[in-house]
């Protein structure tokens, strides 16, 4: 493989950049390593999310982030999945000046059949919603998941007011790259762990990691009815 081909993939770019980082990602303050237009951070839940879905033949995956070509290619190569990119960030970034906010957005999106979806990448979209909007979104997502289906979500643990919101690019199964993007709703809400569990009930928490950069990563699973192992 030539260098030119190698750097066309994010993983290739990350592997090349990593050679020049002193001590690797884990040694940098807060677990961060700057590279290019965004920072790369380790992810604790993406790998388990992918591994569980890899066991599902042709899984159905919903990505609440924007369409990112490298993410699409990565998920396709790893999971051979049916992917529904549903860019909720684009709608969240709108000032909702036209009407009833997220409810009107949800009426037009996430139209998969209930119980059809094997995995949802929610990223940190809940951070940008108030409680009512978050509850409406959570209800819809939970209904979409099949029993045994997984939801991966990220939550900030400290109040932040940033001029930009974040998009997440998959660098590899264990790393995410943050891409800054303009957003109208950049004030981020803090979701304590207890509130997250209430918000996403009846999903059960499979993994919860509080990372050094003040972000909580969570992997949740829709329970399987008794007697039916998922």
């Amino acid at each position: 493989m030539s260098d030119g081909e190698d750097i066309r993939s994010l993983a290739g770019l990350w592997n090349r950049a990593r050679r020049f980082l002193p001590g690797g990602v884990g040694q940098s303050p807060g677990g961060w390593a700057s590279a290019g237009d965004g920072a790369i951070r380790p992810s604790k839940t993406l790998g388990p999310f992918l591994r569980e879905l890899a066991a599902v033949p042709s899984p159905v995956v919903v990505d609440l982030g924007p369409v990112i070509g490298s993410n699409v290619s990565f998920l396709g190569s790893q999971l051979a999945c049916k992917l529904f990119p549903e860019d909720l960030y684009a709608d969240v970034d709108q000032p909702f000046s036209r009407g009833d906010g997220l409810a009107s957005v949800l009426a037009l999106k996430l139209r998969q059949d209930p119980g059809e979806v094997d995995g949802i990448l929610a990223w940190d979209v809940f951070d940008y919603l108030d409680r009512g909007e978050a509850a409406a979104l959570a209800e819809r997502l939970i209904a979409l998941l099949r029993p045994g289906g997984l939801l991966m979500a990220l939550f900030t643990t400290g109040p932040r007011h940033e001029a930009v919101s974040r998009r997440y690019l998959i660098a590899d199964a264990d790393h995410l790259r943050r891409r800054p993007a303009p957003g109208a709703r950049w004030a981020r809400h803090v979701w304590p762990l207890r509130d997250i569990e209430v918000l996403l009930a009846p999903l059960e928490v499979r993994q919860s990691h509080l990372l050094a950069h003040r972000q909580r990563e969570m992997l949740l699973r829709r329970p399987t009815p008794p007697g039916k192992d998922g």
Binding site: G12, A54, A55, V67, V72, S73, S77, K82
Partner: protein, 146 residues
Amino acid sequence: MASDTGSPVEARHPAAASAALIGKSVVVKGELEGSEDLTIEGQVEGKIELRDHTLTIGQGGRIKAQVFARAVVVCGELVGNINANEYVEIRETGSVDGDVVSPRVAIADGAHFRGSIDMQKKGPVQAKGAAIEAPAPWKVPPSLGA
């Protein structure tokens, strides 16, 4: 439907040099079927079938059609579903509103896409607990250039 040597289309799409061309002033309504590569710079409404060949929608192309081809490269606008046996590539000037079925899909930064992407591969399913490998880098077919 031959293209003129040195046309802007060829400059933008090297593969188009040997492909049939629907020029920018041409409007087609109905079914298009072919057994050679095709580049569209004009407008097509209906259905396009190039089962074993590549369809390239140039920057000026405006398509409202269901597309069946071996490979599809979108630099213009496509409204409709794509079914490609090998790959679909949506370049930065490309726009697709529709569902894509193809084992490999590449979407450039800046491209517009709205729909679902079905990348199910025909063949053996990954074994349970299979290790996650680094993603295979997207390789641009040599005929298309970088």
